[in-house]
Symmetry: C2
């Protein structure tokens, strides 16, 4: 066999020009933390303009307020009033779910929306409390502090954990670590939300059945045990009322789904239920027949709660943990909702900036008696449907809530709790997205497994167990992809210079005497051993096949490196070993199309000299041409392969 340098090599493989270490470090840090290039607009601007742009960057209201029109205002007022009519009953219901005083839920719809209107970059997001985070707060804090026995401490902890959630959200945003939220995959969220919705609905059995004693656990088993063991305590008045309102809410929901223009039916239904329920109780005195009511609500705006933040408490670690977990969950929902609606209207949302806005609003909230808020999907969808134009709709909502707080709280005295339970159940049923789960099963079985384990974890374990399981499985999937990358044998697609997997393209032809392998992942420590074994197994199998079919023996092994995006030192050692192994078997190792990262490492580790620069080709086609040329030159009677070397002489 002649020396490689003899044959023509028309397209050398470039080693990327060396970059100084700190420059390449800078580039990769920038790609990691500033992928959206937020400084782009600051380029080539005078300092004064830069200052204004910087201010607008951190306080987006300064950007859009100057161009705000009366037309926008009209639209925003309508949208704002609509979401306020949803915010009041939902606020009370979710505060109930979080085992907090109902008034806290109303407070939470006043201050945070105002902060978000100034700092947030979404035009559609409506701020408010959410069911899942409320449930999480109740289940995490409830483990250490009983909200019925020690309501003050419980409230302090809820506010403190809201404060930490805000700090954590801000920190994620400032440190540009928003991509952590991306690790909650779509499949995880579908399963998690479905599970949480199921759990929240189960919790409402307490309200619907009018039970006084109820389990602290959130899992299906303890809830069902608690419900079934108390059959004699069920209150039919409460149950009938609950079922009626649930039916009413579901019917309105169904109608507004059928016709987009009827969205307001759905939006108004909760407030209507509250009014109807309150009137009913007021006139029938049902509160004396087992129908629990909200009772007295304090009038007046949010009292300051800075002194309630208890940093010296023995439960500080619990508050921090609760803050981080609920903060991440709230962020995931808020950012995803903001992004989805921005997609509809074709504007851009900066995830990290949104996190800072969410964080600031929760920090401010925790100082003004509000608990954790984010951008709930349901309220945002209503806002969007009502035709909101900017975040001013949040200001309008906050004003409406303010008026409620100042003058209308006595009206909620007779509101029955069972109506709130119905409102929660109706909202939650929409979150159990079984169609998405079916879609996952059809498209990607692994994603379905992630989704289901998340669901089962939440329903039978706890919210945290479900979340941790799903994230772990998701990460394991990524690691498994890297640990067990696919390798393919390539063949020539007839009438072309392209080489493709013979598994995907059964028409692809083998090249006699040449085995072409393709590695479909970066070569890292986690897969280096596997790849070494797998490559040698491919060669074994090819040699067995050749022996069986009586073809010409194998001479060349071409490694197509197109899909190898990166390589580490374990990978380099692996290639060295493969090279040695091939030499020992009397085979020639040829490389096709190594990328820039791979070429850099090959060069630095001197492996390029071991393999021989002349055995590295730009394309698989050129590598095959060269191998064929060598086979034809050195062997007087080569078996005529279907792939003719001259074809490729572009």
């Amino acid at each position: 066999m002649g020396h490689g340098a003899d044959h023509p090599c028309p397209h050398p493989v470039a080693i990327p020009p060396p970059k100084p270490f700190f420059k390449s470090l800078g580039t990769s840090l920038k790609e990691t933390f500033f992928p959206d290039d937020p400084f782009r607009q600051f380029k080539n601007q005078p300092p004064s303009k830069r200052f204004i742009l910087g201010l607008q960057y951190f306080v987006p209201i300064l950007e859009w307020a100057p161009t705000y029109t009366f037309e926008f205002f009209k639209a925003d007022v309508i949208a704002g009033i609509t979401i306020a009519s949803l915010a009041v009953p939902q606020g009370i219901s979710y505060a109930n779910l979080a085992c907090l005083p109902p008034i806290i839920g109303l407070y939470s719809s006043f201050v945070p929306p105002l902060i978000y209107a100034m700092l947030g970059s979404s035009r559609d997001l409506a701020v408010g409390t959410v069911a899942v985070a409320s449930l999480l707060i109740a289940s995490m804090l409830g483990k250490e502090v009983n909200p019925n026995e020690n309501p003050e401490l419980y409230l302090q902890l809820a506010l403190t954990s809201t404060f930490f959630a805000g700090v954590f959200q801000c920190a994620l945003g400032f440190l540009r670590l928003g991509f952590i939220v991306d690790f909650l995959s779509h499949a995880t969220i579908v399963g998690f939300m479905g599970g949480a919705a199921t759990v929240v609905c189960l919790q409402q059995l307490k309200g619907i059945l009018g039970l006084v004693h109820f389990t602290q656990g959130t899992d299906l088993v303890s809830v069902m045990r608690s419900v079934i063991s108390q059959t004699h305590q069920w209150r039919w008045e409460s149950g009938v009322l609950g079922c009626c309102f649930l039916f009413f809410l579901l019917v309105t929901k169904y109608f507004s789904k059928r016709k987009g223009a009827f969205f307001w039916i759905n939006a108004m239904a909760p407030l209507t239920s509250v009014i109807l329920g309150s009137l009913l109780v007021y006139f029938t005195h049902a509160e004396k027949h087992g129908v629990e009511v909200i009772g007295h609500l304090k009038e007046g705006l949010n009292p300051p709660s800075l002194n309630d933040l208890s940093f010296g408490s023995t439960h500080l670690m619990l508050a921090i943990k609760t803050g981080i977990v609920t903060g991440v969950i709230a962020l995931a929902e808020g950012v995803a909702v903001g992004r989805s609606f921005a997609m509809f209207k074709n504007y851009h949302i900066d995830g990290n900036k949104e996190m800072i806005a969410f964080g600031m609003m929760n920090i401010a909230g925790s100082c003004t008696s509000c608990y954790l808020t984010t951008g709930p999907f349901s309220r945002t969808a209503v806002n969007f449907n009502a035709g909101c134009k900017t975040a001013v709709s949040n200001i309008v909502m906050a004003t409406a809530v303010m008026i409620t707080l100042l003058f209308l709280t006595p009206l909620f005295h007779y509101t029955p709790l069972v109506v709130l339970s119905s409102i929660i159940i109706a909202a939650m049923l929409g979150l159990i997205d079984y169609e998405a789960a079916i879609h996952l099963w059809q498209v990607d079985k692994f994603d379905f497994v992630i989704c289901i384990s998340s669901y089962i974890g939440v329903v039978f374990g706890s919210v945290e167990i479900g979340l941790v399981t799903a994230v772990t499985i998701s990460v394991l999937r990524v690691l498994l992809f890297v640990a067990r990358p696919r390798t393919y044998v390539l063949g020539n697609i007839p009438n072309s210079v392209a080489f493709r997997s013979i598994e995907q393209y059964p028409v692809a032809n083998n090249i006699p005497g040449v085995l072409i392998l393709r590695v479909d992942a970066p070569i890292y420590f986690a897969n280096a051993n596997y790849l070494r074994e797998r490559i040698s197994r491919w060669v074994d199998e090819e040699e067995d096949r050749i022996k069986a079919s009586g073809e010409n023996s194998l001479h060349y092994v071409i490694l197509d490196m197109s899909a190898v995006g990166s390589i580490d030192t374990s990978g380099i050692s692996m290639l060295e070993e493969v090279k040695k192994n091939m030499d020992r078997r009397g085979l020639k190792l040829v490389m096709a199309n190594p990328g820039s990262e791979v070429m850099k490492k090959l060069d630095k580790s001197k492996l390029i000299e071991t393999i021989g620069q002349e055995w590295i080709y730009l394309t698989t086609g050129e590598a095959v041409t060269a191998c064929n040329l060598m086979l034809h030159t050195c062997k007087p009677n080569p078996s005529g392969g279907e792939y003719d070397a001259r074809d490729n002489n572009v």
Copy 2:
């Protein structure tokens, strides 16, 4: 712009033929757990032959024993005696390091090598105790049980943890989970071994300086504080003796390294030191002048220790944890050593089978008063250099140790501990592989960071901290690669149909009106958001560039999917959004060369219909040709691109 179906599409992209769910599940499970295809040899064999092959598979001695020759035996006897001369002093030293009675170290060189000789598949591996695992046992168990105050309980725990290490190793092997060991990357191991060697050397300061009281901590700070605070307790006799023997050992090491044939000098040096040291103490009565000696060693073979395994103890969790950690570390060293030497001699080692062999030998060991053993590098290298042929050298070594145990233990009565410390230091200095660290820095900065953090973690924290840090950083690196994949703009390499990154190949030409992007990683939930933003940023930047240069406007965006090995449902949604986004901008999304996984998912999610089957091409070249054709047909005066569509008409 005309419809895509009008232009010729010579090479359709194949959707891989549908596979039944359980078949594809089976294939991927097989690739994950049986990548080496161990059942291959069983195919097409009669049942009786299969039985024999199966027996040989699990007990490899049955495979090679029938062909064993007298020539082999001669070589193995020489190698066995050589490693025995190393095993005796090392066994005593390392048992000392693990805070176990010295005799346990000798026991551990008797039973485990016999088991390994039957079950192991390496021909070169010499079985024995290792310094790092010994240190780990001492530091982990020492946290709860003081070996000086409660030696019996401590011994029981060491044996119990050895038992669990064996069970864990066996389980990993049986469950085919050997790839877990691969997550300890080369860089991690270099840093970890270096750090552990440093820590072990520091511990020897106690023996060298003849200190009686010493810190329980293993980190640099507490050891140095302990040493410096006791300057008045230093014993010069001990120090001088230690330095002399250390010098002797290092000189012999240096010489045997210079000339391979002198390996036996290095191999014999420890035993020589022990004999010289013992004679010196015996004749000078140095044991009465501050030189501590081993003292009485019990004669006789390993006593059974099944009753010492304490499964009911309150420290059971500690024993299990210690067993798992030390078991993994021991496996990593043993498997890596076995593989390296198998590479030299060109035979194959099955990692999972090796794990079962290691596990069985530790389970058997724990029942016969042996503590954790594996295949230490130093002893195996000596075995290899001494010309061993099969695992019979282990049997010879075990026999030599047996004779020592039966008759020669009284000879070690006067062996000074300081000589053992010198032996350990001399062995450890070779493990601090600073050259490998420099190589890591040159080739891969990230690997260097992993290595150094592992080293610093071990030296300043503890062995576990170092290990956990390094593994976490390694895994984060993989996740970061997936979370922030590289994307490139491709250009046409002149005089070819190949398209490559214009960053790596500055000669590559842009195609006017067409932007070609390449994604260099699987598209997963972890990077879907990033990729969406990044793709839209590439398009923005390209449009800015076009605006600045006054070229023809952008019409087509080609996504080269060659390197996208896999995609999940989040990735599919991302592509859907990119498609919508491009439509909104009036750009056409074209795909080139999606792999089989991607095509399968595109097909199942109906995205293929949204994009249009006719906009998916086999190669980037064909996609560009089609785009150019459309541009030329629809526009009367196209700007003449350097890339001519007809070039590609192969």
